[in-house]
């Protein structure tokens, strides 16, 4: 009998508490979601770039005629600052600076997000008034596929932020709230990165 020398293969051990890695799983899942979402943005960028041809302008307005730096720069400033303020909120959570600090940084972030959306909507309205509508050309379709998609994401982020403010107002900074704010922060910074891409490719690239 050399059973002892053999590997048992399988042993049954009473469970230890698995709850602690719920947050880690959720965070991993969210990373994967963002990777998937990044593919969507990547494809929208690719489509946009292929539509920067005279054929796709179809005699309509070109990027050079449409885009102007000041508006886009203001939007960029609002969004980049909001990423900074969200970072401050995350630090306030990390170093236990109190619920008040967290709430005020998140509120500032929310305000900046709304400013960004307002500026963006104003820009779209301006374009539509000039007749630069998505139905005009393939290029404009691609523009209105890419940039408002980012806007829709920011809207989702803003809604999420409002929900989180409601939650921490009701329950304080519980484990669940912290883990959700961590994911929202990730999302917010992700949207910022996408915007840097849009600013560089669409606006700077368009004017250059």
């Amino acid at each position: 009998m050399n059973v002892i020398a053999r590997s048992l293969g399988l042993t049954w051990v009473a469970e230890y508490d698995h709850e602690h890695d719920r947050a880690a799983s959720a965070l991993s899942g969210f990373w994967l979601f963002m990777m998937s979402d990044l593919i969507i943005f990547g494809l929208m960028f690719a489509t946009y770039v292929t539509m920067l041809t005279p054929m796709s302008f179809a005699g309509g307005p070109t990027p050079k005629e449409l885009f102007e730096l000041p508006g886009a720069a203001l939007e960029t400033a609002a969004l980049l600052t909001s990423t900074y303020t969200f970072g401050m909120a995350s630090l306030a959570i990390k170093f236990d600076r109190g619920l008040g600090k967290v709430k005020s940084w998140l509120l500032i972030t929310l305000a900046l997000g709304l400013v960004f959306l307002a500026l963006e909507i104003r820009e779209f309205a301006h374009m539509v008034a000039e007749g630069a509508v998505p139905q005009r050309s393939g290029f404009l379709s691609a523009f209105f596929g890419l940039v408002p998609l980012h806007g829709v994401h920011v809207t989702a982020g803003v809604t999420w932020l409002v929900m989180m403010l409601i939650q921490i107002n009701r329950t304080g900074l519980t484990g669940s709230a912290k883990s959700r704010i961590a994911r929202l922060a990730l999302f917010w910074h992700f949207l910022d990165l996408i915007w840097v891409g849009i600013f560089s490719v669409v606006y700077l690239g368009g004017i250059a």
Binding site: A14, S28, S36, T47, S56, G60, G145, M163, I166
Partner: protein, 700 residues
């Protein structure tokens, strides 16, 4: 009722859209078939509802299944969906084979109806048969194989199922109300733009595929995290069963390959609903963007379809050869290599659409490269069988048929990977024969092998083997007769998607293919008979011990059917094929020294809400019933936000004493069972406890 009020409520839906009335207004053969199909759907729904009412099953159906978050029950629901859709898809295929068998004389269905048939057949078989089937198997098996309580996100799992169901519902509704797209399963614009197809058909395609695709993306995320985060202690990556490895690779592909489909679908929707010009002929649209986007999804998709089947074959061949898998690590590497390469070959789906020869050459070579890891797999499976003690069980018959036929199909794939050959045979039935050659012996046989293999684990009794063999051989013969002739007529120049032909040389081949369709129908009927007979005779095939095949991996160490909590306590894994090693050491059925309370997630309505309002959302969009679309979207959004704010309100706790009572009762039963040798595997004496007959070098 004024016209404007009508259109406000019903959008563009009118009496002419009601397919089931067509036979009464235009009683020609084509319309009788159209109406007949919709009556089958209507009667099927009514009979199902009546039976559920008669047997008072609505309550259990709701509380045990529809709102369940148990991964095994969700998996079963996916497979039920897959089997229903398989029946429709096969029957559509049979109608097409019958039409072309008579195609020299014009046949009996109209060209438009034929186009709808091949569009729904393709869409259903890919998105609503193969995808739910493999997702169902992954759902049932993976958490058990890695020693997990459940998936990482059980509520999300239910939501994914709901979204998949809503897509399938839309395709079924299209049979009753309105026409489906005639643009094939790929829905290439500009033909699918409103200039050419203004009706509801393409919109059915868009929303069915988009909703189901969203569900699949979420499933992918769920299973990547589950496999990476929920493994039992000691279950290192290289101790994961091969099916789980394939499931991991499939899930990664789902995460990264579904977004292009979503993008392509939504861009097409923007063209159709909002007048955008992504893919139109005019004003700068570019349909090549669609071709690229679609196949950036479409090519990884074929590996999404085949990898889980490869996983099933790995388990089946090892188990029924009584050996550990040969070259486990090379199989893992081959799997991941296939997953990686699958993203770099999409252009071979449109070699003839205008790239220069150099680009085609690069993609042609990349395509041939995939043959290498696939070849590694085939050799590993053969080496696993070599000097094994092989039992020709039903799953093994599928596996062997697969190994022969899949290699044949792979070789025609290598032919097609050569752009110069592709220019000759593209858009012919040669291509149709090729991909059916991959998907039927590959995916479908794999899924059916998995269905037969894991059935006792889920339901506690084996499937009838006699009918299983009849079904398997009917599939094999039917496949052979139906598709081998298509290679020939394809080489002779018969284009695909053609309703009729004038070259009489084609006819004999199509008659043979028609005979094949008959055998495939027999196979489908046989599967139903098998299920009926198996349920009737379930007392003769009870799987009490939970290990009817003397199998190797962790899922077989649990009772059959598996309790909701899967494992009484955490299994600790010390080897690859841990259960086989434990059995060889004489420790197959141990009792844990202590137990602890088990926490399980509570049931959720998320899946049902997603299914009902997802369907309503799609239906509203298809028929321009904007109030319905907005309402459904609002319900979906509000219920998800509410769930996020409220959390899981009904978590379940199973006390340690209860777990111990159940597990001990099971161990009592197992000890009362006489272990059987493999000679009695299909005998009624096999109650799921395997006798130790032979030793094979333990893994480590």
């Amino acid at each position: 009722m004024s016209h404007s009020f009508w259109s406000l409520v019903f959008g563009r839906l009118d009496f002419d859209s009601l397919d089931f009335l067509k036979a009464f207004f235009h009683p020609d053969l084509n319309d009788v078939i159209v109406s007949g199909a919709s009556w089958v759907v209507i009667l099927g729904a009514v009979v199902t509802a009546a039976l559920l009412t008669w047997f008072r099953l609505w309550g259990p159906l709701w509380s045990k299944w529809l709102i369940s978050v148990d991964h095994k029950r969700i998996g079963v629901m996916y497979i039920v969906l897959a089997l229903i859709m398989l029946a429709r898809g096969v029957l559509e295929g049979v109608v097409m084979r019958a039409q072309q068998a008579d195609g020299l004389h014009g046949g009996f269905v109209s060209a438009d109806h034929f186009a709808q048939l091949f569009s729904t057949h393709g869409t259903i078989m890919i998105f609503f048969m193969a995808m739910p089937f493999l997702t169902g198997l992954i759902n049932i098996v993976v958490p058990l194989q890695i020693g997990a309580r459940d998936v990482s996100f059980p509520m999300l799992n239910s939501l994914s199922l709901g979204l998949t169901v809503s897509g399938a519902m839309l395709v079924m509704i299209s049979l009753v109300i309105g026409d489906f797209s005639t643009g094939g399963w790929t829905a290439y614009p500009p033909y699918t733009e409103p200039d050419f197809q203004p009706g509801a058909g393409v919109d059915y395609w868009i929303w069915a595929v988009t909703l189901a695709g969203l569900g699949s993306t979420l499933t992918g995320i769920n299973f990547v995290v589950t496999i990476l985060k929920e493994r039992a202690p000691g279950m290192t990556l290289l101790r994961m069963p091969i099916f789980t490895w394939n499931a991991l690779c499939t899930s990664l592909l789902l995460v990264f390959a579904m977004p292009p489909l979503t993008v392509a679908g939504l861009m097409l929707a923007a063209d159709r609903y909002l007048g955008f010009h992504f893919f139109t002929n005019t004003l700068g649209g570019n349909m090549m963007n669609y071709a690229n986007l679609f196949w950036q999804f479409g090519h990884p998709e074929v590996y999404i379809l085949i990898l889980p089947a490869f996983g099933v074959y790995g388990e089946v061949i090892a188990t029924f050869s009584g050996k550990r898998l040969y070259g486990y690590v090379t199989l893992v590497i081959a799997t991941m290599a296939i997953g990686f390469l699958s993203f770099g070959v999409w252009l071979h789906h449109f070699f003839t659409m205008g790239q220069d020869a150099d680009v085609n050459a690069v993609f042609g070579i990349a395509t041939m490269l995939i043959g290498i890891p696939t070849g590694v797999k085939v050799y590993d499976w053969m080496a696993t069988m070599f000097r094994g003690r092989i039992r020709f069980s039903v799953p093994m018959v599928y596996a062997l048929a697969f190994m022969v036929l899949f290699v044949l199909g792979g070789l025609t794939g290598i032919l097609l990977a050569n752009p110069t050959v592709d220019f000759q045979v593209h858009n012919t039935l040669f291509l149709v024969a090729h991909f059916h050659n991959m998907l039927i012996p590959g995916t479908l046989f794999g899924m059916l092998a998995g269905y037969t293999y894991w059935f006792p684990k889920v339901f506690g009794f084996r499937l009838n083997d006699r009918w299983g063999y009849i079904a398997a051989f009917s599939w094999i013969i039917g496949y052979f007769l139906a598709f081998m002739p298509l290679y020939a007529v394809g080489l002779m120049g018969m284009t695909r998607r053609t309703v009729s032909y004038t070259n009489s040389a084609f006819e004999p081949w199509f008659l043979v293919a028609g005979a094949g369709a008959f055998f495939v129908t027999v196979a489908l009927v046989t599967l139903c008979v098998q299920l009926y007979v198996s349920i009737r005779d379930r007392e003769l095939t009870r799987d009490i011990g939970g290990d009817p095949w003397n199998a190797r991996t962790l899922e077989w160490a649990t009772p059959s059917p598996v309790p909701a909590y899967n494992f009484p306590v955490m299994p600790h894994i010390h080897a690859l094929d841990a259960f086989a090693v434990a059995k060889e050491a004489g420790f197959g059925y141990q009792e844990p020294t202590s137990y602890s309370d088990i926490h399980l997630p509570g049931n959720t309505w998320a899946g049902v809400i997603a299914a009902v309002f997802g369907t309503a959302l799609g239906f509203g969009l298809v028929w321009h019933m904007w109030w319905l679309a907005w309402l459904s979207l609002a319900v979906l959004a509000v219920s998800l936000i509410a769930r996020a704010l409220l959390g899981d309100r009904h978590p379940v706790k199973i006390p340690a004493t209860e777990v111990r009572r159940q597990y001990r009762a099971w161990l009592e039963k197992v000890r009362a069972v006489t272990p059987v040798t493999r000679a009695l595997e299909w005998d009624h004496r096999n109650c799921g406890v395997a006798a130790t007959e032979y030793f094979e070098e333990a893994a480590e």
